[in-house]
Amino acid sequence: MAKPVVIVVGADKGGVGKTTVSRTLLDYFSANNVPTRAFDTESPRGTLKRFHPDITEIVDMTTTTDQMKIFDTLNSASPSVTVIDVRAGLLSPALASLRDIGFLDAAKSGQITFAVFHILGPSIASLDEIAETANFMVGAKYFLVKNFINNTSFFEWDQATYNAYFHRIKDATELTIPKLNEMAYEQVEVASVPFLKFVANKGTLDEAANYSFVLRGYVRHWLANVWSEFDRIKLTDLVGSGKPALRSGEK
């Protein structure tokens, strides 16, 4: 049996696109036939749940019952990949509680594959966070995600500051999420469907929808770019499903 994989998507700041990245991850795994489940910590109302209602559960990571719900089922649950969308401000506490329950040690000893997607915001505070979380990151795969979806610029004005932070963590991999056309992004929001379904012109229940061809085109193009980033970091290898399979809807 494949090792359970836990992917935490988080940032200490709101509005940097955590949920967007989680959504692309879920789409990516579903396109690669990797069974996945997701937890949304945005309790009580989760954005991720709105887009992927079938596989998403809303949890409160600070409570023991919900921690059990997530981690005690890791071995028994059939989906091999668990994606956790950690609410703004909760990344460091979440990692701390993971350490407390011995999860990080399990990851270190290789029983569990553990990856963190750290979405960067445009402020120094968000870079400070990197330093903070770095302490927990032994044994984890650490991905720094530069999210350009909302046109952030990442301290390109000061390479020294930038490097000081970005090289703080050893073996961190940088990932870039390109910008998506604003209107296209809004339309997907309005439609409340996964990006994949939007591209395939389908509604929430797989019924035929009538999205703009232009916007679908932009989403398809953008999603292909995001996925090629995931391919680049060999995400499917990480979750143990081998080579990225040929996907429909891609060039």
Binding site: E182, A184, S212, F213, V214, L215, G217, R220, H221
Partner: protein, 223 residues
């Protein structure tokens, strides 16, 4: 299967005869099918809208709204031929967008047949524009328009290897005549008694070229 042709008349250069060709092609399609929709993406040039106000709509590709308004119409396989008169300033943006949103592929899937009519010129901007098109447009859908009035001589080599549609040069007094806003090619064919006049033959020859173009489109599809 029903095929809807979409003719995109383009050049990265102004004043090479795009609108003239768009006018004639639209009139030809109107005569042949009784129906055509033309889109005018020209802000700075003599405009198709002024010549054929009844069948022409304006469109733009500067923002996403404009792109949606245009492309969501053009991608529909409704059997009504479309003509797009693409102004030189919109050339880059249009093809960048069409590449990004996968226009050619989606069109093929839906039975819409885009035909890119690239109006040739001998300068470098044209050469570069043409190279871009060669990269993203299948050879069968890319036609070089050799407007004798503009090219005056041999086509650049890269373009000469493509499919070519020739438009002969008119003497300038006839050119002034067809450039009048009230001039109609079909109307001229109908009303001009002397079928051996130069303009009469010129219009007929061009209509014949358009017909051949359309025919080859259908033949290509049936394979």
């Amino acid at each position: 299967m029903l095929i809807t042709p979409v003719y995109i008349i383009c050049s990265p250069r102004p004043l090479v005869g795009k609108t003239l060709i768009a006018r004639q092609l639209s009139e030809f399609l109107l005569l042949k099918n009784g129906d055509v929709t033309a889109f005018d993406i020209n802000l700075k040039e003599p405009s198709l809208l002024e010549f054929l106000p009844d069948i022409t709509e304006t469109a733009e590709v500067d923002d996403t709204f404009g792109k949606m308004a245009l492309m969501d119409r053009v991608i529909i396989n409704d059997g009504i031929a479309k003509v797009i008169d693409l102004g030189f300033h919109a050339f880059d943006e249009f093809f960048k967008m069409s590449e990004e949103i996968g226009f050619m592929k989606e069109a093929a899937r839906r039975g819409v047949a885009p035909v890119i009519l690239f109006v040739a010129d001998a300068d470098r901007v044209s050469a570069r524009g043409f190279a871009t098109l060669r990269e993203q447009i299948p050879k069968s859908a890319l036609v070089v328009v050799d407007n004798e009035y503009v090219v005056r001589g041999e086509l650049p080599e890269a373009m000469a290897r493509s499919r070519i549609l020739r438009i002969a040069a008119l003497p300038s007094f006839l050119k002034t005549y067809v450039d009048r806003l009230t001039f109609s090619f079909t109307g001229f064919l109908r009303n001009e008694g002397n079928s051996s006049s130069e303009l009469h033959q010129w219009v007929r020859r061009n209509y014949l070229s358009f017909r051949e173009l359309e025919l080859s489109l259908i033949l290509q599809r049936s394979f």
